[in-house]
């Protein structure tokens, strides 16, 4: 009960804080909108009179990018910047002094920012749907069996992205400047998360590389379930793999945190 109350208080404080930076946040949000917008325009001209490309009808392809924009906006968290800043400046010490663990603090912080993003996203999605026409909704392939799996994949996708990014941020315990590692991570994420194009349209070798990486489980799996690109059995298998990645990422985060705090406590904040 107590921790629920402190979580709600944290969420409300982060929300108030995020709300004060809404113009900046909106500009960042526009970056997430521009990519899919450009891709939709490109694919529209690429389709011409074609009925299908790579197994996607024009309606499915448009819905793919609207879905990708929405899920990326809501599930792609960024705790790594703040965590690495805290470690570099010594602000991380506050998490070691009070009975509030750093992970809960940052988790609630990310949630608050995502709620703000949801406010921005809702009217933009409505505008996209009005622009693309009702035909685009024919690409929704959820069934009663897969609806729950879809919700589950959203939760695991969010957690997987969060744990990995926290672990990434915690590298600042050892590195004076983590931005190089961040950029390598972001580059791989960009290539293999599915935001450029559906992953099943990538060349075979790239698809195989992507299968060994966690990025496809951020939101591509959810989108595949949502569009009915995979059946219930494949969705279950996907969810199981996503859950395993999630557990692995959580453990990696705990290990990096444990070792990092030992290092931090050894040399001072």
């Amino acid at each position: 009960m107590r921790s629920l109350r402190s979580n709600l208080k944290l969420l409300s404080m982060f929300w108030q804080e995020a709300f004060q930076y809404r113009p900046e946040s909106f500009i960042w949000f526009l970056f997430d909108v521009m990519g899919p917008l450009v891709m939709i325009l490109m694919w529209r001209s690429a389709y011409g009179q074609a009925e299908q490309i790579g197994g996607y009808t024009p309606g499915q392809m448009m819905l793919y990018y609207v879905g990708m924009m929405s899920l990326r906006t809501l599930l792609n968290v960024h705790p790594e910047w703040e965590i690495s800043r805290e470690i570099r400046t010594g602000d991380f010490s506050r998490h070691l002094l009070r009975p509030l663990r750093f992970n809960r603090y940052h988790f609630m912080g990310e949630m608050a920012w995502k709620l703000l993003r949801l406010l921005f996203l809702t009217p933009v999605v409505v505008l996209f749907l009005l622009w693309l026409g009702p035909g685009v909704l024919s690409g929704v392939g959820l069934t009663r069996e897969t609806a729950l799996l879809f919700v589950g994949s959203l939760v695991f996708g969010y957690l997987l992205c969060y744990y990995l990014k926290v672990a990434l941020g915690l590298l600042a315990f050892w590195m004076t400047e983590s931005i190089g590692v961040f950029n390598v991570f972001f580059m791989l994420q960009f290539l293999f998360e599915g935001s450029v194009m559906p992953l099943d349209l990538l060349p075979g070798w790239a698809q195989r590389v992507g299968e060994f990486l966690p990025f496809r489980y951020f939101y591509f799996l959810s989108l595949s379930i949502f569009q009915g690109k995979i059946d219930a059995v494949a969705a279950q298998q996907g969810l199981a793999a996503q859950a395993l990645w999630c557990v692995g990422a959580y453990l990696a985060m705990r290990v990096v945190y444990g070792l990092g705090v030992r290092q931090y406590s050894a040399v001072g904040g």
Partner: protein
């Protein structure tokens, strides 16, 4: 060194106990310039810095102790070990019966560390929001929280500040709010690292009065570091002086003056002008104006020399004074360096 290593109350364990504490940092060495960077990239040289070296002391429940030392003496490192931010390299540390570096919640609910140059308040929100968050994370019952907040608001004049964004407060106002945030859960142990740094004299005095009042009312154990001797003189009966990582004095503040200074000063005002040469027969003349002077004399002979002064000169007023404490402390630090 005057050691206070055994508890004055054998039945009651001390609030803070530090035995043979040492803390060594490994520091990377790098020559300046590009060549230095390349060299350091190929072969990284390190050396050890012993920031704290065999420090021992005990602090009883309710004591307010000044922790003094020049920059880099090991004060903040010791405070960080006591609050659980650093692992000790060697030695035993216990605060309220806890090993601080285990960072148990039960321990964290009972102490606060206030660093004058760091803040825990949320920059973009009113201080009251940070206070309410602390109520939840420290699990303070609502009635107790309201009572404490009321007390703190009255003592620190927080009323008009509580609903203003922290970033819009002045440094002094922010420091008052920081202190309040640190005390809302009524910590039994309080570590204050330079709590009055950068504040004007009026605000320094207010914060000092408040700390003393909190110590007395709540019987809180307080360890305070400060570069302002006024803080230490106003608050601390006992001081621990640390230099080069070692405790060089642990005892009463007044004792330090007696032990380390073998002289007193006679501040005298005359009814009519006197000659400097004549005064030099009494002691070393530190300051001289025609009808006013300060004369330094051996501590043991202070009364005799004062009597001579009264007999031989037309004295209007005479004071026998101890040298200022910060002069004494400076003298001790300088002696330590030499």
């Amino acid at each position: 060194m005057l050691g206070i290593l055994t508890s004055r109350h054998p039945d009651i364990p001390p609030a803070i106990s530090v035995r043979h504490l040492s803390k060594t940092y490994r520091v990377h060495k790098k020559d300046p310039g590009l060549w230095g960077s390349l060299k350091s990239f190929v072969r990284r040289e390190t050396f050890d810095v012993r920031a704290v070296d065999g420090v021992s002391f005990q602090i009883e429940t309710g004591e307010l102790v000044g922790f003094l030392g020049p920059n880099g003496a090991g004060k903040t490192t010791t405070l960080k070990v006591l609050s659980g931010l650093l692992y000790p390299t060697e030695g035993e540390v216990s605060v309220l019966g806890f090993r601080p570096w285990r960072r148990q919640r039960a321990f964290q609910r009972q102490f606060s560390l206030v660093m004058g140059q760091k803040n825990q308040l949320w920059w973009d929100l009113p201080a009251l929001d940070s206070f309410l968050l602390n109520r939840e994370i420290y699990e303070v019952p609502r009635a107790q929280f309201d009572e404490t907040l009321e007390e703190l608001t009255a003592a620190l004049d927080l009323g008009p500040l509580l609903r203003v964004q922290v970033r819009k407060l002045s440094l002094g106002e922010r420091m008052k709010c920081e202190l309040a945030a640190a005390l809302l859960h009524r910590p039994a142990v309080l570590f204050l690292d330079e709590p009055t740094i950068g504040l004007d004299v009026v605000m320094q005095k207010k914060i000092r009065e408040f700390i003393l009042d909190y110590n007395r009312r709540r019987r809180a154990t307080i360890l305070l570091t400060s570069h302002y001797m006024e803080d230490v003189e106003a608050l601390c009966e006992r001081v621990i002086i640390i230099d080069h990582g070692k405790v060089i004095y642990d005892g009463k503040l007044e004792e330090i003056v007696r032990r380390h200074v073998d002289r007193k000063t006679l501040a005298v005002t005359f009814l009519e002008p006197v000659s400097r040469e004549a005064l030099e027969g009494i002691g070393e003349v530190l300051e001289f104006e025609s009808q006013k002077a300060t004369v330094c004399v051996p501590r043991a002979e202070a009364s005799g020399r004062a009597a001579r002064l009264l007999n031989e000169f037309p004295v209007a007023d005479l004071n026998i004074e101890e040298p200022p404490v910060d002069d004494v402390i400076r003298h001790i630090f300088t002696a330590g360096k030499e």
